[in-house]
């Protein structure tokens, strides 16, 4: 199983190492660093590298490389999934997952890693269990700790590990009992030059923030569960009930968690909320080109489209650009050739437009391909698939919880080919 873990920053510095079995020299990372050098982008580093004595499995996340060393056969996804859990755990504990955060909380991260694996096999990966053993830092607690010399290590034992519902802490108490659910849907789409949809689908996720006392047992039902084609659940959800009744029945973990992800039935046509009129052209003779992009609302179900942003990776041969935006502002990084046009809210009366000229490096040939546009947007209070939560029932506790559901539609991997 997993032998060692190294955290490596983008410049190749190893700033944390943890070994669960015999110590593996950090020189093993050289193979990885070599591969990293070769790759153009950090994402291009192969996740699995074979070295003479070890296998290196790595993930790139939040600008950090998590590199694990293994010695024997193990399902690669097992390791990858675990590494992502580590990243999520750090995020969960410290609010973000970054080099600074890890360096600031070196000891705590190390302790957490110690608890998460035993001899390379995952032991406690549930955030609720971990938090019982090692309390996450809060401002208040850090003040108290410095004053009193107490610490973050829980003095209670991780009873959660003993129970058959390891995801929930025991003895939770809240004065305000509340349960919030965010239904977030993302539209993945590829539109071609003419604006026709090559491919579109809706992926959704139900994020929950449950702060309920005791051991509540929740049942969430949808008005139209038939919409859901493929689902995956947090382990707390009872599969069988979903299969037979199409309701989500679960004893929730405490705090934030992802209850389910789903994929909307492919038969349903996906409403594309915006259209994009674009023309990017380069002139054959001169070293010049033009760019003209207009974004407008299409099928928005009467809601406003917000947070619209267009990202373009311009060809490498672009020398400079000179554009004007009728709405919002654009930024352009000449190093990465990344053009970001932040539009904001879409106004159907006055469509935002970005146009201007692009100048190419002298003598450079006309680029083969026009860059594709990546669109970002969100629509509040709308689940584009039409999914609706019917009701949430609670059993097992007597108080009346405060319940809420929020719908958001976002653009996922929304790409317009040009």
């Amino acid at each position: 199983m997993i032998n060692s873990l190294f955290l490596i920053n983008p410049s190749g510095e190893i700033f944390l190492e943890k070994h669960w079995k015999s110590v593996v020299s950090r020189s093993v990372c050289d193979y990885f660093l070599e591969a990293k050098e070769k790759a153009l982008e950090p994402e291009d580093v192969p996740p699995v590298i074979h070295t003479p004595h070890h296998y290196l499995i790595s993930i790139y996340r939040d600008k950090l490389f998590f590199l694990s060393v293994i010695q024997t056969e193990v399902p690669p996804l097992f390791v990858i999934e675990f590494l992502h859990r580590v990243a999520e755990m750090i995020q969960d504990y410290f609010g973000e997952c970054s080099e600074t955060v890890v360096k600031d909380h070196m000891v705590m991260v190390y302790e957490l890693l110690e608890e998460m694996l035993d001899n390379g096999f995952p032991l406690a990966t549930e955030s609720n269990v971990l938090k019982e053993m090692i309390r996450p830092p809060t401002i208040l607690r850090s003040v108290v700790n410095t004053l009193t010399g107490t610490s973050n290590v829980g003095d209670t034992f991780p009873t959660g590990q003993l129970s058959t519902i390891p995801w929930r802490r025991a003895g939770v108490r809240y004065t305000n009992n509340e349960a919030y659910f965010d239904v977030v849907e993302e539209i993945d789409a590829i539109l071609d030059q003419s604006g026709t949809t090559v491919f579109a689908e809706i992926q959704g996720v139900v994020e929950a923030c449950v702060k309920l006392s005791g051991m509540p047992d929740l049942t969430l039902s949808f008005m139209n569960p038939r919409l859901l084609d493929d689902v995956s659940f947090h382990p707390c959800v009872r599969y069988k009930l979903w299969e037979s009744e199409r309701v989500l029945s679960f004893i929730p973990p405490d705090g934030n968690f992802t209850l389910m992800t789903y994929h909307v039935n492919a038969q349903n046509l996906v409403a594309i909320p915006v259209y994009v009129k674009q023309s990017i052209s380069f002139f054959e003779c001169g070293s010049d080109g033009r760019l003209d992009v207009t974004v407008g609302p299409k099928q928005t179900m009467g809601k406003t489209v917000e947070g619209v942003m267009v990202t373009v990776h311009l060809p490498k041969t672009i020398l400079s650009i000179n554009l004007t935006a009728t709405q919002g502002s654009y930024t352009y990084d000449n190093g990465t050739k990344l053009l970001v046009w932040d539009i904001g809210k879409l106004n159907p009366q006055k469509l935002p437009n970005l146009r201007g000229s692009l100048s190419l490096q002298a003598g450079a040939p006309k680029p083969e391909e026009n860059p594709s546009l990546n669109i970002d947007l969100n629509i509040q209070q709308l689940a584009i698939s039409g999914l609706k939560v019917n009701r949430l029932d609670m059993f097992g506790e007597k108080y009346k919880p405060f319940k809420g559901v929020k719908y958001i539609t976002k653009a996922g991997k929304f790409q317009v080919r040009t």
């Binding site: 995956s232 009872r238 309701v247 059993f395 996922g412 080919r417």
Partner: protein, 1195 residues
């Protein structure tokens, strides 16, 4: 014991030793340098500022080495410490202080050093002293330190052992566990015996968590000392038998690391593992699923061995198709070959494939895990299905795998690799998701290339145009590696799909005018391969390419063009010599591969057109003669000898033409993922396409299935207790029933002799239907499983009892139908107003399987099963000679099979109930969910109860003697002995915690049956049976009733046992409807209310009772108080609580085993509306009861 004693004593001495060392050193330090204050510059240690001078001194690798060297020679002794007196003094000081806060600070800095990879091993003596520190955080950090450095400082590490040994005896399970965890993590060989002892002890610890830790410790010890393997296997064997989900994953992991070859250890635990699987934590699931895949490959038969036959016509027609086999229109040659092979074996065997129920169990229990959030679990299930499932069922994994594609790019990478392999074998599976593999410009290159691979694999005649259009956009990409891959992909599509070859070729030719040289070069290479397939038609393309030689610089492309021209010089007779001329001019500047091709071209032209090219060839060969590269010189020399006729030229020159102008077969463009599936999918080895260390080969399917009975689990204790109790039995009523399932099995064997309906379905059909019936009953909620078992029993029993004579008159074939009709009869009867007219109606409906929603299930089940048996029988008739053989096999099967199925069901149900019931404390009242969830099955499950009378309740008006009987053993199966049972609702006097079951034996055979008794009960834990006293002789034609007691442990799981006569043994099972698990108690209205109150109040507490309320509409016939009472009491063994109002009916009872109260009240309102309330501590019982009563009242 001696080494242990030594060790135990060691700490004291060692401690002293260290103390003195420390003291001395401390004095010296004080003398030499002032000790730094903790808050001084020291803080930098913790923060790890790289500019700290001391970091530079020993923080780098070189420094580490040096330090370690020191420590190793000195073993942490005085000398090494003295030589570097300044190092970590402050930390040592802090560790020696009395203040916990200082110690903590020091430990934090030390751990931070470790985390950063700095060496802190010289602090070992100072740290290890704190192992017994009271402060829990210090202690934890010391553990962390110890685990990291103990290996390097073995002697000193021993100091800590006694602390852990004490911890192992701690009353707190978590302390025991963590002591074992640290103890086993210290990689010190000398403590191996201690570890071994500790593991053994922990393996039988009461706490499952400690046992889990023990499982974790096993591989640790094994890696430390592989000689302990045998002992460890014993521990593993013991832990494998553990029934808790907590342990299961960890022990299988240990099994995989220590003794993966001992597959025999799994047999007994196989079913348990399958059933626990869903509740095991996700990481354990991955390990278990992977292991079970391997296990299944050794134990079961290939479900696809008949796949060729299945594919042809599907269903019954498949059988006629044996001569059409060759017509399979699958384009994949490989598959065809495979098919033929399997077909061949299938023909040889002609044995109907019946999926082992255990095989089915595995598939069924893993399927829901496709919904896991953990990608590794999904992948594990996917590979399990890919390797084990019948072809028709593999499709379910596609959706889940496509879902994973939205995950992180690393996950995508791994999943795509596996999808690529799968899509070669089973293309149809991913075809619907074609668009999900479309490439975005933002994908990392490695993902793009993999998606391309999948798209290429999925291409076929129907979708090729869309795919090619997609490819066209990819060619424009800026990512040149990707473009090259796309061109190759187009080439592969063109070779695989003849229709589009020309289109592709044209497209590629257009690419030749692309501005990017790489694109052109790649196109040339691909075109070359394509042209090789049909060169005649494409001389113009070759001409076009000849022109390109002026521009293209990429050597591979130039070489390809030259080869093409040389190979097909006859098609371009004018251009070829000219090209050679040009090439001869530039020969010296070309790359080596191009030079070689120029020589080849020259040689070929010389042979075909020596007039024009003789001189050119000479020239080229001369140039080559003096080339720097010896390969080229060699080639030139060789070719000269071969083609230029000289006196000395050998015999070979005659064949020169043949040598050079031989027809070369077109290259096969293959996917790099072809045949990768001989590695277990999802494994590291598969990903690397090379065997990784520790990889366990996925075995091939066995030719014949090993004995399935090895997986039967015996419950010996219960049998013994039973035997003890037998003597006390007194009453001897009669019995006559047998397990319907068994009966059916027997029928299968018998039928062929009687019926001769279309005998064509053959092995495939039966394989199919067997799996269908299985999946039919299984795919639903698991409880349906349990339900279906009893349903079919019911229906059969009832029919049996009612239609004895019918059966004899009618043919066996018809009997089935009769049974079906009869099976329905009891329902209306039981529903209090049996009208003959209704009965007739019902029987008329026999062709329509669905009558009532509740019935439909039982009937479906029944139907499908009867179909399966029919089909099997048909298959058997299909070839007369084999009939006998087969009959033997089928006939020999039944005895072993029924219990297995039963077992399976029972377990399934258990896991289901556990599923909601897993933790009584936290989830006391999640009532509605369970309710719904059990609904479908229990309705039918409990249907049978409606006729039983309630002796103890004074207010019931159920006619007694109308007890509903169930069949236990059918007359045919029992070889003349038929057995029925009913729940007599009498208290079972020898043990009041048992449910009395009245069993009636009827001997309709011609000879007498002797020594009827019960044997070999296979019971769920906690269940007990009190057998009836042995019936010594049952003469022919006689009937005898006995009563036996069964403690069902308040669950509706079946009690399985063997019914033995002097000659035969029959596997039978009794499954109680929930209403029979209770007995009536008498209560007044006030008491009732009070009880109900207390129950409700205790609801707040976790152990409280539940209340389930359901609204319902009473059927017209049942709107009176009288009817309600009757129906409720028929459905459940409860007594009526007298009550003032006629709008309310209350019933009370308690469960037989645990005596938990069961309170039921029905409040009727206007228009037949009513409200049903059930209070019961046992949540499961309560919910099931609600369903039951609800059904009784609404039908």
């Amino acid at each position: 014991m001696t080494p242990m004693q030594k060790l135990l004593q060691l700490p004291v001495n060692a401690m002293n030793m260290v103390k003195t060392a420390q003291d001395q050193m401390g004095q010296q330090d004080e003398a030499k340098s002032p000790v730094m204050t903790p808050d001084g510059g020291n803080h930098n240690w913790y923060n790890g500022e790289p500019n700290d001078p001391r970091h530079i001194r020993f923080g780098s690798g070189g420094g580490d080495q040096e330090e370690r060297a020191h420590l190793e020679e000195g073993g942490g002794s005085l000398s090494s410490l003295v030589t570097q007196p300044l190092r970590h003094d402050d930390l040592k000081e802090m560790l020696d202080s009395n203040k916990d806060s200082l110690k903590l600070e020091a430990m934090k800095r030390i751990v931070a050093m470790i985390a950063r990879g700095k060496n802190a091993s010289d602090l070992f003596p100072a740290v290890v002293k704190n192992v017994a520190c009271k402060n829990i955080e210090v202690k934890k950090l010391v553990y962390v330190y110890l685990v990291r450095y103990a290996e390097e400082q073995q002697d000193l590490a021993l100091l800590s052992i006694s602390t852990f040994q004490r911890g192992l005896k701690d009353p707190n399970q978590l302390i025991r566990a963590s002591a074992l965890r640290v103890l086993s993590s210290i990689r010190v060989t000398i403590i191996v015996p201690i570890m071994m002892l500790a593991i053994k002890e922990a393996a039988s610890d009461m706490s499952p968590y400690v046992r889990k830790t023990a499982a974790h410790a096993i591989p640790k010890l094994y890696s430390l000392d592989p000689e302990q393997k045998d002992c460890l296997i014993e521990v593993i064997e013991k832990l494998l038998a553990d029934k808790t989900t907590l342990v299961a994953g960890s022990v299988v992991m240990a099994f995989e690391e220590v003794c993966p070859e001992r597959i025999d250890l799994i047999h007994k635990n196989y079913r348990k593992l399958c059933n626990l699987l869903i509740d095991v934590e996700e990481w354990g699931q991955v390990v278990i699923i992977n292991m079970l895949t391997r296990y299944a490959r050794t134990q079961f038969l290939n479900p696809n061995m008949n796949e060729s036959l299945l594919e042809e016509g599907g269903g019954e027609k498949a059988f006629y198709g044996s001569d059409n086999d060759d017509d399979t229109d699958d384009e994949e040659d490989k598959e065809e070959k495979e098919k033929k092979k399997t077909e061949a074996t299938a023909i040889v065997k002609r044995k109907p494939y019946v999926m082992d129920p255990d095989h089915r169990l595995l598939l069924r229990n893993t399927k829901p895990l496709l919904q896991s959030r953990n990608a590794a679990v999904v992948m594990a299930v996917a590979q399990l299905y890919f390797h084990l499932a019948p072809k028709a069922e593999v499709g379910v994994i596609a959706k889940a795998l496509v879902r994973l594609m939205r995950s992180h790019s690393e996950v995508q990478y791994v999943v795509l690799q596996n999808v690529a392999t799968m899509s070669i074998k089973r293309r149809g599976m991913f075809e619907p998701y074609l668009k999900s593999f479309y490439i975005r410009s933002t994908d990392p290159t490695q993902i793009k290339v993999l998606k391309l691979e999948v798209l290429t694999n999925l291409a076929n005649e129907t979708n090729i145009s869309t795919i090619l259009r997609e490819f066209q956009t990819y060619i424009k990409s800026n990512d040149k590696d990707f473009v090259a891959a796309t061109i190759q992909a187009i080439g592969r599509c063109a070779t695989n799909i003849g229709e589009v070859r020309d289109t592709c070729l044209n497209g590629l030719v257009q690419l030749l005018s692309n501005r990017d040289e790489l694109v052109v070069a790649e196109s040339v290479v691909v075109i070359k391969k394509l042209l090789q397939m049909q060169p005649e038609q494409h001389s113009d393309i070759i001409k076009h390419m000849a022109k390109l030689t002026d521009n293209i610089q990429v050597p591979m492309a130039r070489a390809s063009i030259l080869w093409l021209i040389g190979e097909y010089c006859e098609h371009v007779p004018k251009i070829a010599p000219d090209v050679l001329r040009k090439m001869a001019k530039t020969f010296t500047n070309e790359e080596d591969i191009v030079k070689l091709q120029i020589i080849n071209l020259a040689a070929k032209l010389y042979l075909t057109n020596s007039k024009q090219t003789k001189l050119l060839t000479q020239y080229v060969l001369n140039l080559a003669k003096y080339d720097q590269n010896y390969d080229i010189r060699d080639r030139a020399r060789f070719i000269r000898q071969l083609i230029v006729p000289t006196d000395k030229s050998g015999a070979l020159s005659k064949y020169a033409k043949k040598l050079f102008l031989a027809l070369k077969p077109a290259p096969v463009l293959e996917s790099p993922f072809k045949d990768r599936d001989h590695f277990q999918l999802g494994s590291l080895s598969h990903l690397l396409n090379a065997k990784a260390g520790g990889y366990q080969v996925l075995p091939d399917w066995p030719e014949a299935a090993p004995d399935p009975s090895v997986r039967n689990v015996e419950v010996k204790e219960s049998v013994i207790t039973l035997l003890e109790r037998v003597t006390t039995l007194t009453s001897v009523p009669e019995w006559t029933k047998c397990s319907s399932r068994e009966k059916r099995k027997e029928k299968k064997a018998d039928k062929p002799f009687y019926s001769d309906s279309e005998g064509e379905s053959g092995p495939t059909e039966s394989a199919d239907s067997a799996s269908d019936t299985a999946s039919g009953s299984e795919s639903g909620s698991g409880s349906e499983e349990s339900g279906s078992g009893s349903e079919s029993e019911e229906s059969n029993e009832e029919s049996e009892s009612a239609s004895e004579e019918d059966e004899e008159e009618e043919g066996k074939k018809k009997k089935k139908n009769v049974e079906k009709i009869k099976a329905r009869k009891p329902v209306p009867e039981s529903e209090s107003e049996p009208s003959s007219g209704e009965e007739v109606k019902k029987s008329e409906k026999k062709s329509k399987p669905r009558i009532g929603s509740s019935e439909s299930e039982s009937e479906e089940d029944d139907d499908s099963e009867s179909e399966s048996s029919e089909s099997e029988e048909e298959s058997e008739e299909e070839s007369e000679e084999e009939t006998k053989k087969k009959k033997k096999t089928t006939a020999s099967k039944p005895p072993s099979k029924p219990p297995k199925k039963e077992n399976k069901k029972e377990k399934k149900e258990m896991s289901l109930l556990d599923f909601d019931d897993f933790d009584p404390a936290p989830s006391p009242s999640q009532v509605t969910p369970l309710n719904n969830f059990l609904s479908s099955s229990l309705v039918t499950d409990l249907e049978g109860l409606s006729l039983t009378d309630n002796v103890l309740s004074p207010t019931t008006i159920v006619p007694s003697g109308n007890l509903k009987t169930y069949e236990l053993l059918h007359r045919i199966t029992g070889e003349g002995l038929s057995v029925e049972y009913c729940f007599s609702r009498q208290p079972f006097s020898p043990d009041l915690h048992m449910v009395a079951v009245k069993i009636q034996f009827t001997n309709s055979a011609t000879s007498e049956a002797k020594s009827l008794h019960v044997e070999d009960a296979k019971l769920q834990s906690g269940m007990r049976i009190k057998e009836f006293p042995e019936i010594e002789v049952l003469p022919a034609g006689e009937t005898v009733s006995v009563v036996m007691g069964i403690d069902f442990c308040d669950s509706t799981q079946a009690a399985n046992f063997q019914l033995c006569t002097h000659t035969r043994k029959f596997f039978v099972s009794i499954q109680p409807p929930v209403g029979e698990l209770m007995m009536p108690i008498f209560m007044t209205e006030n008491e009732f209310k009070k009880e109900q109150e207390t129950l409700l109040q205790s609801l707040g507490q976790l152990m409280g009772m539940n209340e389930i309320t359901e609204k319902l509409t009473l059927e017209e016939k049942c709107q009176g108080e009288h009817a309600v009472v009757q129906r409720v009491t028929t459905a459940a063994n409860l007594s009526r609580v007298p009550c003032g109002s006629d709008k309310e009916c209350r019933f009370a009872g308690k469960t037989v085993t645990s005596g938990s109260l069961v309170l039921v009240s029905v409040v009727t309102k206007e228009d037949g509306a009513a409200q049903l309330t059930v209070n019961c501590e046992k949540m499961v019982i309560g919910t099931m009861l609600v369903k039951d009563i609800l059904q009784a009242l609404t039908q």
